[in-house]
């Protein structure tokens, strides 16, 4: 299936082009738009970005695979990103990970989310959930699943 940016996104892209010395700077912004539009970044979306910005498709692909927040496959389950870095580990992230094990979610172990003062922490979609306890996790998932 062909990938076409929505009208709204096309307007955004044209407006952004005026804000940078080169359209190549729009690589990350366009990848974000594509991911928001389809839920992931398809090969067709990569082609569309390549055409819009005048960057080789392989280069867009190389960029997309470098950054951990871009998904190149459709996401079937809810992605739960649990921070496993030191401050969260010291404050009990292992228990949170253990607690999530049997849930219908896709657990992603992430590195420090910049939220160490309210550890342990997880991120779902674009939202942070902080000062987690197993009970809190249950309540959050009940809301989302």
């Amino acid at each position: 299936m062909n990938f076409i940016f929505t009208e709204e996104n096309l307007i955004k892209i044209e407006a952004l082009k005026l804000r940078y010395p080169s359209p190549q700077a729009l690589c990350l912004p366009c990848l974000w738009m594509a991911q928001h539009q389809e839920g992931y970044i398809s090969i067709n979306a990569i082609d569309a970005i390549s055409e819009t910005l005048g960057i080789a498709p392989m280069e867009v692909y190389r960029v997309a695979t470098f950054y951990t927040m871009f998904h190149l496959e459709p996401q079937e389950k809810l992605n739960v990103q649990v921070c496993k870095t030191l401050s969260c580990k010291l404050c009990g992230s292992d228990a949170i990970l253990e607690h999530l094990k049997n849930k219908e979610v896709n657990i992603i172990h992430t590195e420090c989310l910049g939220s160490c003062g309210t550890a342990p922490v997880m991120q779902i979609n674009d939202t942070f959930y902080e000062n987690l306890t197993p009970e809190k996790v249950d309540a959050i998932l009940k809301e989302l699943l």
């Binding site: 952004l16 990350l28 950054y67 590195e111 910049g114 003062g117 309210t118 550890a119």
Partner: protein, 409 residues
């Protein structure tokens, strides 16, 4: 302990992220001074204040500003570093979500001084919640006519620690992988599509309005002679009240931990502190006893102040596990350009895993130190040398713990 709120002044005020409330509490007042001072005079004031970069390195801000051309046919850019990915660091987030107008005010002053017409704020992808607050503030500033001299655009990252390194950040903004660039031999600006660019941390820029408004002397009244002013120090880990609390340089570390943090969690004893994000050498409780929080004191004992984000570890902490945790982070985040870094992070992680698993030998400890040595000073950026410092500090300071875990044949 003396209260000093230079950057965190509006943190406790409700809705200070909105223009109306921020203005009521003095936001954008320093812009008046621009009628009085030329760009070079602003740089001089910053020079006199001895403001140091707050992104981890502590370099003189004015020295970097002075590298930007005051004349020329290429446009200059300011890039504000809000990648904030150094584990233990969560201060810039407070500024952009609680007082975003302070950052915008600092951007306007800085752009005036370096003659930039456009500023970008590179924000880590995970901070989308806070990005929205920051964008709303920018929209309000546009609507109020505050951004007529200078545009501000947020650029969202997408999950890569290394993009906090300034040249990797610019590569990322140019639409490429976040690979650090080779350092130039002479001092020069950074480059964004071959145009001169200045990269500063969020907190550095947010410190500028106070200095311009009150003068260098008032700023220098805080802190020490060589590290003047304040920092948004932070605490996480085993402490009763973790969080971000502004304090002046030269504050006693233990006093800070006890006063703001309420001491070690559950009345336990302190074992170790990583002073400013994981990339700084670990300190034993004994070393922390009479330590002050400033660049010189930390350097003096072979560590560094970094971002001022302290990770506190109590007496029950397994130091081998802590080192393993940090090495996993580094292994995950190495950009892979340099062989010592790409291979060294994975290899040392494996060796520490082996020791943690009680299968390690004395040779493994020696090997770890050898790997640390090959990672020091032979790479494009200072990521690998930081890993080296971390490994050496853990092993040299907690060697008995590593040795006790070895497999006895």
């Amino acid at each position: 302990m003396r209260e000093c709120k230079i950057v965190s002044k509006k943190f406790e005020i409700e809705n200070a992220h909105t223009l109306a409330v921020a203005k009521k509490h003095g936001a954008y007042a320093s812009l008046e001074k621009l009628k009085e001072y030329s760009p070079l005079e602003i740089i001089n004031i910053i020079q006199e204040s001895k403001l140091r970069g707050k992104g981890g390195g502590g370099a003189s801000a004015a020295e970097k500003w002075a590298l930007m051309p005051q004349t020329g046919d290429k446009p200059s850019f300011l890039v504000v570093n809000c990648d904030e990915s150094e584990p233990g660091t969560f201060k810039d987030r407070q500024i952009i979500s609680k007082d975003p107008h302070l950052l915008l005010e600092g951007i306007l002053l800085t752009c005036y001084a370096i003659k930039a017409k456009h500023a970008y704020i590179y924000i880590r992808g995970e901070y989308f919640q806070f990005q929205k607050i920051l964008q709303a503030a920018i929209d309000e500033a546009y609507a109020e006519g505050l951004l007529t001299e200078c545009d501000i655009t947020i650029h969202r990252g997408a999950g890569a620690y290394i993009c906090g390194e300034k040249s990797a950040l610019l590569e990322s903004m140019e639409g490429k992988r976040g690979h650090p660039r080779l350092k130039p031999k002479q001092k020069e600006p950074e480059w964004f599509f071959n145009n001169p660019a200045l990269v500063n941390n969020v907190e550095t820029i947010a410190s500028v309005p106070f200095i311009v408004q009150n003068g260098a002397e008032v700023y220098k009244a805080f802190g020490t002679k060589q590290s003047p002013g304040t920092l948004l120090f932070a605490m996480s880990g085993h402490v009763e009240r973790p969080g971000v609390y502004e304090a002046e340089f030269g504050t006693s570390m233990m006093e800070y931990i006890n006063h703001f943090g309420g001491g070690i969690k559950n009345g336990k004893k302190l074992k170790a502190v990583i002073p400013g994000g994981v990339s700084c050498g670990v300190l034993t409780a004994k070393e922390c006893e009479n330590l002050t929080l400033d660049y010189e004191a930390l350097r003096h004992i072979g560590s560094s102040l970094g971002t001022g984000g302290m990770i506190i570890m109590d007496e029950d902490t397994d130091m081998i596990e802590a080192l393993k945790n940090i090495l996993e982070f580094y292994h995950e985040e190495s950009c892979g350009q340099c062989t010592p870094c790409r291979e060294g992070t994975g290899w040392s992680d494996k060796l520490v895993a082996k020791i943690l698993d009680k299968r390690g030998t004395k040779e493994d400890i020696d090997k770890l130190l050898e790997i640390a040595d090959t990672m020091d000073g032979k790479t494009i950026c200072v990521f690998a040398p930081s890993v080296s410092i971390v490994i050496v500090s853990f092993i040299s300071k907690f060697r008995d713990e590593f040795e006790a875990a070895l497999c006895v044949k």
